[in-house]
Subunit: 353 residues, 2 copies
């Protein structure tokens, strides 16, 4: 605390991301990164950096990147906003579209950055509890609100909503922006992007950090009605003209063009998720059915924190949240097949103790 | 405008950056980029990307990059904040440190993004006119204020303040944060970083975009008392945990380590600036003595806008600001020696018409 700080800073409680360990050799199953490297075409694009004029500012409008995304999702370029990771995209969304007189609605168990953005931008929000099976119930969102945000699949539960359910929420709230945060949609869900022309209040957020294996390069985007997108452009251009750099953009373009590799790695992750779910279920865990690249599971008797600490001793990191309702659960990111075997072996040892 | 926008968005007038032309072959003297490419060591660092785990999130604390900067400027790591270009660093500074009850003071002729940040964060500010020779006069900043910001050298004038003058402003305002935006300091100025331990109210902002030839990779930083830095970290961690990516960071580290190349390119730019200043002075321009990588000049009779348009026809872009007090001036970034000859030849033709 210091007299030089603004009043706002004195009130903020920042988001705390999962650990990025500085030592090598750990099996990192704590921040839902992709266990597979990005497409070889990404590295090829970067290796052409010698021809990239790094001394010049990047395209402030990120046109080529937007074109690639537009082409992939069959939308128009003015329906796309890109940012320095989906966290930056979300930050701009909160300020541009979710700060309203009536409260923003968000689930109690969800991406915990949401309430941090609300503090940052002094947004009035109301927490809607998930039901007793950790599900989002559309009827709970049929109350006075200025806007709505939730992840689909939800995090850290991994539970997917169907497009019908999303449409129900959209239809019940035609005067509110509804943000569907699809960071994990590619691991078995169906994206709501197909609904943007039908619902001008729908904004879909996605990222290259998970299914495209590019967390290290920070590329996220939002897709929706061009009116929503232009609000985001106004905020972005009042914050940083050039958030996207001259290496991340060609890398992301290369990633989105390599559909074959994308399908291959996603398929592998989905297969490993099924194997891990089976293993956990057979070993006295209850596992929530996940459509993300992680599972959320609790053991019938051993404390989650104990398991997390013992795994850490065996050089495997998973995420544990010391929060009401979910402090009995571990969130375990899906690794490679090999990492998954090592995880299962370690768990077997811990459970046998 | 849309009912979905927040009230704030409806009021914003974003910053408009200089054109980034999408056609090749133009001589780009409009956005103060470095005409020389970054150090070969930067490209070497990027070529090692095959060993960089792009699927993993970057270090949220950017520790290695901060260590390189700390080492270069002989400061402590907790006296450094880094961001996705100095525009992002500035944005966080405005929210964390410049939003106070009393107004923020800033010069009328200055980096025009400052007032945009004030709108974005609803900061009360007061504009202090430069004197009739476009100089910042310390006595004008000896008035009630919550904080102060100015560039040194100033932009778009290029006029440098001495460290004595900076100290006068700091001493007169010990209860206010004073931000010295040193984007152009390396082209002949002396940085205020040596004053941070003496003045806990001083925050210095720099960038890799100008003297380090890395505008394309978006790396900026601030140096000051650790209390100021921790306010920035709180805002950053409430906005985006990972603003710095896994390629920009090693590239910036390679750039700051190549002191020889840095000195070589800066010396070349300073030499070319002297040549251009001489040419302009000999050809009926009045030129403000610049310590930046641009000059600010007006012709005795031909309109600045006319000259800018005619240069554009000859594939040379310079910057013209249609703003009070400065609409007779051109801001011309310093190019390579060859670009400078082509510029001078084009100007000769235009003036002879």
């Amino acid at each position: 605390m210091s007299k030089f700080w603004s009043d706002l800073v004195q009130q903020l409680n920042p988001y705390i991301p999962g650990e990025q360990p500085k030592i090598d050799g750990l099996i990192k199953l704590n921040t839902n990164e992709n266990p597979y490297p990005p497409s070889a075409k990404v590295y090829e694009a970067i290796s052409r950096a010698n021809n990239i004029k790094l001394a010049l500012y990047p395209d402030p409008d990120a046109t080529e990147l937007k074109e690639s995304i537009a082409n992939y999702y069959k939308v128009k370029i003015d329906q796309i906003f890109v940012g320095n990771g989906s966290d930056e995209v979300l930050a701009h969304i909160f300020l541009a579209l979710l700060k309203k007189e009536s409260p923003l609605l968000l689930p109690d168990i969800s991406y915990s950055f949401y309430s941090v953005y609300c503090s940052l931008y002094q947004i009035n929000y109301k927490i809607i509890p998930l039901d007793n099976k950790f599900r989002i119930n559309p009827i709970d969102y049929k109350v006075n609100n200025g806007a709505i945000i939730f992840p689909n699949p939800n995090a850290p539960t991994g539970i997917l909503l169907s497009l019908n359910t999303i449409e129900e929420i959209l239809t019940n709230n035609l005067s509110s922006v509804v943000v569907v945060d699809e960071a994990y949609i590619d691991f078995g869900g169906k994206t709501s992007i197909c609904l943007i022309n039908k619902y001008p209040n729908l904004l879909v957020v996605q990222t290259f950090s998970k299914s495209r294996s590019l967390a290290g390069l920070r590329v996220g985007f939002a897709i929706g009605n061009k009116q929503l997108i232009s609000a985001l452009e106004i905020v972005k251009n009042s914050f940083n003209s050039y958030p996207m750099n001259r290496l991340s953009m060609p890398a992301a373009i290369a990633a989105i063009k390599d559909e074959k590799y994308f399908q291959q790695t996603n398929t592998a992750i989905i297969k490993t998720r099924a194997e891990l779910t089976k293993f956990l279920t057979n070993n006295d865990f209850s596992v929530i059915s996940s459509m993300a690249n992680f599972v959320f599971a609790k053991h019938k008797s051993i404390k989650a924190k104990t398991i997390a600490n013992k795994l850490r001793e065996q050089k495997i990191i998973v995420r544990y949240f010391d929060k009401p309702r979910i402090n009995k659960y571990l969130r375990i990111s899906i690794g490679t097949e090999k990492q998954n075997s090592l995880l299962c072996n370690s768990l077997k040892k811990i459970l046998a103790e």
